[in-house]
């Protein structure tokens, strides 16, 4: 019974995704064809799933952060730091489990740092995470000592980025597993509800017994962990850690994916499934633009247009208008509510 509800709630996203995929198929006729070579699935569709892995992973953490009315600008920089850590650990002879543990630990620490600034010092999330966004790439350069650390001779780490398991590419498996875990944890327990409560009114939820500090810390820590996984995948994919370009502007893509997925930037409600669809929409757009032979720069204008449309749809003003359209009687209530929302 759960599936139909998800489909109904996410109809706009599904339609957009279907339209973009259909357009891609028109541009490149072989888009939907998937074939198996060397026990591995190949095809443009698989490529979308594979290339979309970093943004998808970031979007999972970002969704939870945005649901608490926060934002995490540092995820791109955290990807760069974690990539640098993973590359330097594996090249100095540590085993794969030790490298992965170290990389994830560093991501966790970055997330906890952000969480501490937001939850304990009460700093606005944009600003708190801006610090790591600015300093993060410098730290990553410090770790790689200013060069691109390559690890061409470490097949075990490269496997994370380009290997395959059950004939699916590893990044796809990783993000699907993490997504399912995240959805189960937040939706099969009260955690998701508590996160939304903090997003609606942190003070009220604290007063009603929600330990908002711990939950905020945890949410930013999860975002850091997701960024860490994305960073390892990105580094393993190019067989090296590029402190300057790893994850560059991906925080913006992740935020966009979350917003496209129907999570409100004003906090208080979220949909992980929607964010995953948002990430896939962005990735199919990227792939489509490349397939069509347009310069990749078109991406930015299309993204700007998408944001604008979503803003208009999500804005309290047009929501009021819509409610007005549906039932005149409800208008007053919605208006006061949206006003209160705006005043907060």
């Amino acid at each position: 019974m759960a599936v139909p509800t998800i489909v109904r709630e996410r109809t706009p996203q599904l339609i957009v995704l279907a339209v973009i995929l259909a357009l891609n198929a028109v541009i490149s006729p072989g888009f939907f064809s998937i074939e198996i070579q060397n026990d591995r699935l190949y095809g443009s569709l698989i490529d979308v799933l594979n290339r979309g892995a970093p943004v998808t992973l970031l979007a999972i953490g970002m969704t939870l952060v945005i649901a608490t009315k926060g934002i995490d600008l540092s995820v791109g920089a955290v990807m760069a730091i974690v990539g640098a850590v993973a590359a330097s650990l594996i090249t100095s002879g540590y085993s794969l489990p030790a490298t992965l543990a170290g990389a994830l630990f560093v991501g966790l620490v970055c997330g906890l740092w952000n969480g501490a600034l937001v939850a304990l010092l009460d700093i606005q999330p944009i600003i708190a995470t801006l610090i790591l966004m600015v300093a993060g790439r410098g730290i990553a350069q410090l770790i790689t000592e200013g060069v691109i650390l390559t690890f061409n001779d470490k097949p075990e780490l490269i496997f994370v980025g380009s290997g395959s398991f059950l004939s699916l590419p590893m990044p796809v498996i990783i993000w699907i597993v993490i997504a399912i875990l995240a959805i189960l944890v937040v939706r099969r327990s009260a955690l998701g509800l508590l996160i939304e409560a903090i997003g609606i009114n942190r003070r009220a939820s604290t007063l009603s017994g929600v330990n908002s500090r711990v939950i905020l810390l945890a949410v930013y820590a999860v975002s850091g962990l997701c960024a860490a996984v994305a960073g390892v995948i990105a580094a393993a994919d190019i067989k090296g850690a590029d402190a300057n370009n790893a994850g560059l502007w991906l925080e913006m893509d992740a935020i966009l994916a979350v917003v496209i997925g129907g999570t409100s930037l004003l906090g208080g409600r979220f949909s992980l499934v929607g964010s995953l669809m948002g990430a896939m929409i962005i990735q199919s757009l990227n792939t489509g633009i490349l397939l069509a032979g347009f310069p990749p720069e078109f991406n930015l204008i299309i993204k700007a247009a998408i944001i604008l449309i979503i803003l208009i749809v999500q804005s309290p003003a047009s929501q009021t208008a819509m409610a007005n359209f549906r039932a005149n009687r409800q208008t007053v209530a919605v208006k006061t509510e949206s006003r209160e929302h705006a005043a907060r």
Partner: protein
């Protein structure tokens, strides 16, 4: 309360003086008008856009689009000067009108759709960058003779340092910005918006006009900054000025402006720019440090100043609570 208002500004000033003393004690050559002149010239474009950012942040908003607008301005100018015979001054007016309208449009969306400035200006950032890509993806040199005329204007300061035209433009923008913030009705409205939106509305502040005006001002200054940047580099490039918005925000915060809006000074932003410039100059003088140390030091400074602001707010909240307790206790005493 008056003292705590100026405390972040004082802290910035002390940090600047200390940083300069450290720099001079390591490299005595840094105490010269040549270094000062270069510092002002190199950071002129950043300073101009940071003034606009100060107004935006004072009003409780944020403008992520400025870096892209600077790039757009450069590309627009270089393409127009290459393909048409329009005089640069006319092109300046055209591009300033465009960027001001762009800022005003973002302000309009922020106010009328009631959406967070962060996401609206993020869309603006994508849009401006995308349009400059569409104009050209190459770095287009500007060879108009008027440009070399402008670049050759400078005053020689005592000690041989050159105060270039673009440095003068930045100083003028700061002066006008300080007057605009402290001595005009618009400035008062900006502070009122950042202090408390609802109270500002109830007091009769024209919120729509002011919001649009703030972002239009930021767009205008980003355009001016783009002109200065094109004079500085003699070229237009769509990948230029990436991340300038972050440097500008950092300068504003290091300058002691409260990120929640309502408190801060344009003059503080000037100090913030000077501190960033000092760090860069130090790294250049040292020669062995990599440029990414700039990022780390700026990150540390950001953290330091934000923590200081939080501390001040806690203190003022606590003293406010104490005063309330005191006044609540008074009747029973009497």
């Amino acid at each position: 309360m008056k003292n705590s208002k100026y405390l972040p500004l004082m802290a910035t000033f002390v940090v600047f003086v200390l940083a300069y003393i450290i720099c001079i004690s390591v490299f005595p050559n840094m105490l010269s008008t040549r270094v000062a002149g270069n510092l002002l010239t190199d950071n002129a474009f950043l300073g101009i856009t940071a003034v606009g950012m100060t107004f935006v942040i004072l009003s409780g908003g944020i403008d992520l689009s400025v870096g892209s607008v600077i790039a757009f301005t450069g590309v627009f100018l270089s393409v127009i000067l290459r393909d048409t015979s329009i005089h640069p001054l006319v092109a300046f007016v055209m591009v300033l009108a465009l960027t001001t309208a762009f800022g005003a449009a973002m302000g309009g969306v922020i106010f009328f759709l009631d959406m967070p400035p962060f996401i609206v200006t993020l869309a603006g950032m994508f849009l401006a960058r995308g349009i400059s890509y569409l104009l050209t993806t190459d770095s287009v040199p500007i060879t108009h003779p008027f440009y070399s005329t402008l670049q050759d204007i400078y005053f020689v300061m005592p000690g041989g340092g050159r105060l270039t035209l673009i440095a003068i433009v930045m100083l003028v923008v700061f002066a006008v910005g300080i007057i605009l913030a402290q001595r005009t009705r618009f400035g008062t409205y900006v502070y009122a918006l950042g202090g408390n939106l609802t109270s500002a509305q109830l007091m009769g502040v024209p919120v729509a006009k002011t919001t649009i005006g703030i972002y239009a001002l930021s767009g205008f200054l980003a355009g001016l900054s783009g002109i200065v940047f094109s004079l500085y580099t003699s070229a237009g490039y769509s990948l230029a000025a990436v991340g300038v918005e972050l440097d500008a925000i950092a300068a504003v915060v290091i300058g002691g402006t409260l990120l929640t809006g309502g408190y801060g000074f344009v003059a503080g932003t000037f100090l913030g720019i000077c501190i960033q410039g000092l760090i860069q100059t130090y790294i250049v003088f040292d020669g062995t440090l990599s440029s990414w140390w700039t990022k780390i030091v700026i990150g540390l400074l950001l953290f330091g100043f934000i923590a200081l602001q939080r501390g001040l707010m806690w203190m003022s909240e606590r003293s406010a609570r104490n005063m309330r307790h005191a006044s609540a206790a008074q009747p029973s005493n009497a």
